[in-house]
Each structure stands twice: as C-alpha cells, then as structure tokens.
C-alpha cells in the first residue's frame, strides 16, 4: 500500500487521504484521530514536511545569535534560485576564491535602486558554484531594519544592520561577511552612472578586515544595474517616508506593485583573488594612508572586473 502511495500523483494521494478520513469519521471517530489514521498512508516526503511544520510551530528550530534561521533561508532559497537561473540567467566565475572555511570579507559593488538583489545573487552563486558552500552574512542598510516585515525577513536570511561592530563580531566568529562599501551611494545613483563605482566610504571595511586579519574577496556584479533603471529621484517622497532616496524607474511608481518586478537583465558575477591583509597586523588599521590604499586597490579591482564582465556579457537583456 505504501509503495503504491509513493508512486501516486498528488491529487490521487489527496483523494485517497480524504476518502479514508471520511470513512473513519462515518465510523464514529473524531476528525483528528481519523486524519491521524489516514496519514499513515501518506508518502514519506509529505509526512516529513508535516513533521517539520509541526516542529517549527513548537519553536524547535535553530536560530543563531543574529536571528539567522537556516531552515527559513533554505525555504526561501528556491525563489531566489528561480531568479538566479531563469530570470537573470546568472553566470558566476571564481566562486572557489571564497575561502571554504575561516573568516573572509566579501566586498562587492552595490546596485538596484528599489531593492538591491545583489546580496541574494552572490549568496546564490556561493551556494550553487562553491564546492563547500556556506551561508554568508550581508550588511543591510540600517533603514531597512526599522521597517516591518522587511526587517524580520532580512534577519532570518542572514542580513545584519550595517555597523563595523557587527562585521567585526561575525568575522571574529570565522564567518563570511558581505559588505557593500558604496552603500546608498551605489544603489541611489542614476542609471546614466551605471557601473561607475562610487566612493568607498571612509574605508571602514578595510579597518575591520585589518583588525580581524580577514582576507578581502572583491566581487564584481554585472547586471544588477539594469533591474531597476533609476531615471529620476523624488526627494519629496523620500522625505515623506523617511527613506534615504525614492527612485523613479520606467515602471515604478507608474505601474504600482507591478513596477516592483525587476527587469530581466543578464547577470555575471566574478569573485576575484582574495587580498590577504593578515600579515599587516591589526595595528595597521590605525594607518589611514594604508587603509585608503587598500580601499582604493579593492575599488580598482572591482571597477576593472566590472568593465571586463560588461564586455563578456554583451547585450544587457538578451
């Protein structure tokens, strides 16, 4: 019987389950007991899913000290995988440059005016292409953590509020820390300035890498700029909702929620050779000149790889 159930299609399983519940209820059993008896014939995968759901409802799952919930991230992963494979057809190169264990700081360019997807696609590239994948943590603009839903979601999938203290703590725990030194300047730049790296802040990320002796892995992401081409900016709207900027794209806000659908550009992600700063020692973080030099070196590496990958990609959408 159970072997038959494994091979049956979903509607058949459902019908058989309901029929068996009905006959048990007709026989005088209460619905829950009836369902329990009938569920013995459900396929194993379905029963495992039910068990997982029950376990989560009891609170029996793991969250780390940052609120990262690996099961939740895995459940959300197929959606991002769909975007990765079908929507943006991402091609990733050099994922093996991310260390398989130990701390590392991943530094990438930042784009996507309405909602930057680059962190999720870099995560996807690591999960799909790396021989020993692990979940990276990524810095999220502070403002997002003051918003309902987005704050809770970001935390569960590995986002942490952008703060050097948080980056330091994650690296000290030998994690992968993804940072976007351009910050809002990167996501908020007009479409005409696409793939032109903005200022890398004050080089704070280099200080953290030096203090924690973490290698820096520069990452160039091509394709993220075209998903929401920002053609204008509404400072009035930005002020009204307290956002750092409010982008206007060809589709947003004109098409309402439909305008939130990103354009299907073609993406390339390249992970560059790690830059080892461990030999410089933690005290080097106080050397401003050195910090700026390394910051500039990382910036130039990414900029150059951006141009190379733009050429390799060719047309933006097809």
């Amino acid at each position: 019987m159970s072997a038959a159930a494994e091979s049956a299609s979903i509607p058949e399983i459902g019908v058989r389950f309901l029929r068996s519940v009905r006959s048990a209820v007709d026989g005088g059993a209460d619905p829950v007991t009836a369902a329990e008896a009938a569920s013995a014939d459900l396929p194993k995968s379905l029963r495992d899913a039910i068990e997982r759901m029950a376990r989560r409802l009891r609170g029996e799952y793991h969250e780390d000290e940052w609120g990262f919930d690996e099961e939740f991230a895995e459940a959300a992963y197929p959606f991002f995988e769909l975007l990765y494979d079908q929507w943006w057809r991402v091609e990733a190169e050099g994922a093996g440059n991310v260390p398989a264990h130990g701390r590392a700081m991943l530094v990438a360019n930042h784009a996507g005016a309405l909602f930057p997807f680059d962190a999720s696609m870099i995560t996807g590239a690591i999960m799909k292409e790396h021989p020993l994948p692990r979940w990276p943590r990524f810095m999220v603009l502070d403002w997002a953590f003051s918003l309902p839903f987005l704050s809770a979601f970001m935390r569960k999938v590995g986002g942490v509020p952008a703060s050097p203290h948080n980056a330091t703590r994650i690296l000290e725990d030998d994690g992968l820390m993804m940072v976007f030194p351009e910050g809002v300047k990167g996501t908020g730049k007009p479409f005409a300035d696409r793939y032109r790296l903005q200022r890398f802040g004050r080089g704070g990320f280099v200080e953290v890498a030096l203090r924690t002796r973490s290698p820096i892995v520069p990452i160039a992401v091509v394709g993220s700029e075209e998903i929401y081409p920002k053609i204008a900016d509404s400072s009035l709207l930005a002020r009204a909702i307290g956002a750092p900027y409010a982008p206007i794209t060809p589709t947003f806000p004109w098409l309402g929620l439909l305008g939130l659908i990103p354009l299907p550009s073609k993406w390339r992600i390249e992970f560059c050779e790690p830059i080892d700063v461990g030999h410089l020692g933690p005290d080097a973080a106080d050397d401003r000149q050195l910090v700026f030099e390394i910051s500039e070196q990382v910036r130039e590496t990414i900029q150059q790889k951006l141009y190379e990958n733009l050429v390799k990609r060719g047309s933006a959408f097809i």
Binding site: V32, E51, G59, W66, F145, S151, S163
Partner: protein, 340 residues
C-alpha cells in the same frame, strides 16, 4: 580587613535585594549583611539586619557610615512600579535616591566597593547599529524613554563618583530584563497572556536573563566587583516569535502604532501592567548586548543562554491559556505520526 565582609544592600525590599541577602547569608566570608529599604525584605532573613529608611531621605548620610560596611550594593533601582512604589515615585527613587546614596558613600571611610544594579536600557532599543552592544557603546544613541533618561542620569552620577573616588571599586551592572519561573515581572506576565499581542511585521531579538543568573551575577559582582560597567545578559539571543512558540502562546499581531496604546489599555486588565520603560521599543526592535566582560572579567558564566531561559520559563509556565483551542502543532504532530 581582619574579620569577614560587611555588606550593605540598598533596596533590600525588592526581589533582587532579598535574593542577594539570602545568598550572602550562605557565604562564609560574609560577616554581616545589612539592608536598607522602606519595605521589609520579601523573605525571612536570619542574619540580616534590616534598617527601615528611605534612600531619598537625608538621614542616609548618617546611617550609611554608621553601618561600617565595606561593600554597598544598590539593588533598589526600579524598572516598573512595584507594590509600595507607584509610578510617580520611580524617577525619585531611581535618580534622587541613587544620588543621596552616593553622597552618603562619600562619608563612609570603611567603604571599599560600590555595586549598582542598573539596566541595559541605557543602550536603547535601536533597529540600526550594533546587534551586540559592548560596555563602551552606552552613548551611541539618544535616550528616548523616561526610564532610559533616568538610567542615563544615574549612570552619569555614578561614573563621576567613580572618577572622584579612585580608591573605590565602582561597578555598574547593566541588566537585560529578567525572566524566570516564579518571577513576577511585567515581561513575564506579558509572555503569559493567553493570546500575546505583538507588533505586525516585527520580530525582535531578545535576551531575557534567567532569574537565577540575575542573582548569581549580582552575587559574583558583590563578592568580587570589577571597575566600570558590565553587561549582565545571557549568551545568544532568541526572536520573540520563537519564544512565543516555545512558551506555546499564539500571537496576535497588531499594527505597531496601535501596540503601545493597546497594551496600555489591555495590560492593566490582563495583569501585564503597562510595560513600563522601554518595553514597547524592546518588543519592536529588540536589544542584544555582549556579555564577554561578564564571563571573562567578572568570571560569571550564565547557566542559561537566551533560549535556555525561555525553555525554563515555558517548563514552569502556569499562566492562562486557551485550553479549548487545539494546537495546530499537536494536530500536525499526530498527522506526521511522531506522537504514538
């Protein structure tokens, strides 16, 4: 110090004052425990001398030196109104009381150590910034609530006092909110509501300190304090949603602007109080602090981590619940065949 320690507890009528006295009485190194408060200790204490006095009164300036104590523990800072200490006196007790107490300390030549049971509320509850505040980050954010400002003010007095009296070991303990079986605090009553209102779309990270660790850390700091502030918190953190699942309470998400007023309305009626202090922000943005200084420098290792504290609370939970509502989880459990 030829004989044993003489320890004076200000605020012995509070839960934590009484708990500390109970533990100190069992310490062989302690010769005498004295306690000051307006209300008597909550338990029968055998070798503790109770002095009925208000820490806000000028009488204190003569009383404290007369005790010849070598250690003063201030356990009388109030997070929320308590019996005999209504809402309107909280500011007076917390700020003016501490100020008076410190003034009295200046006239006590026998004094060597001062320990204050303060609050991690000084860091605020911020959506941005560090997820784990260390002791040096107290001034990073503006003080937003009345309680935070009170704590900020008294910490200011205390650090000035510590600077002026370098021969004293002055230790400020910054406590995360406590929870524990049998501990009657607003946050525990909130978590024991039959249906728990939460803020729609927010899932704060919490660190609730187990009551046993709260007393244990206070005892460790009393016996061997270190200089400066120390965060008292469990390791790790837990999200409110997971905590409620472990405690087996359904949530009722409310749009967050309505949460504060709703709780103020409902709270008193349901016995959860009005969640005084920064609890509304705490239950929106959460707060995590770093406890390395507690574990490594003060040498106190919490017995419960953030999840363990909630589990222990859940295990001893006697609060109201909707018994008639069959848990979806238990039905699913039976369907999955995990319960035989």
């Amino acid at each position: 110090m030829a004989s044993g320690r003489r320890i004076l507890i200000a605020g012995i009528g509070t839960h934590w004052g009484t708990e500390l006295a109970l533990r100190l009485e069992r310490e062989p190194a302690v010769e005498q425990v004295l306690g000051i408060d307006t209300t008597p200790p909550l338990a029968a204490l055998e070798r503790t001398e109770f002095l009925e006095a208000d820490i806000r009164s000028p009488l204190l300036a003569r009383l404290v030196p007369a005790t010849e104590a070598d250690t003063l523990v201030h356990a009388g800072i109030l997070w929320y109104p308590e019996p005999g200490k209504p809402k309107r006196v909280l500011h007076d007790v917390n700020v003016i009381g501490t100020l008076q107490l410190l003034a009295a300390c200046e006239r006590s030549p026998s004094l060597e150590r001062v320990v204050v049971r303060g609050s991690a509320a000084i860091y605020g509850c911020e959506p941005t910034g560090p997820s784990f505040f260390t002791e040096s980050m107290a001034a990073d954010f503006p003080l937003r609530t009345r309680f935070q400002r009170d704590i900020g003010e008294l910490e200011g007095y205390f650090s000035n006092f510590a600077r002026r009296h370098a021969h004293l070991t002055c230790c400020m303990l910054r406590y995360q909110p406590e929870i524990g079986p049998g501990l009657d605090a607003p946050i525990a009553r909130y978590l024991s509501l039959p249906v728990v209102p939460t803020q729609l779309g927010f899932d704060p990270r919490l660190q609730l300190l187990h009551a046993e660790d709260a007393t244990g850390a206070l005892l460790a700091a009393t016996l061997a304090p270190i200089r400066g502030p120390v965060n008292v918190a469990p390791s790790g953190s837990i999200s409110l949603s997971r905590a409620l699942r472990l405690i087996d309470r359904p949530q009722m998400p409310l749009p967050h602007p309505l949460f504060g007023p709703a709780l103020a309305q409902l709270g008193d009626r349901l016995g959860a109080g009005s969640l005084y202090g920064d609890a509304v922000r705490l239950l929106r943005y959460g707060r995590g602090v770093d406890n390395r200084r507690l574990r490594e420098e003060l040498g106190y290792e919490p017995k419960f981590d953030a999840v363990g504290a909630i589990r222990d609370f859940a295990a001893a939970d006697h609060g109201m619940r909707l018994v008639s509502m069959p848990g979806i989880g238990s039905v699913l459990d039976r369907l999955a065949g995990t319960v035989r």
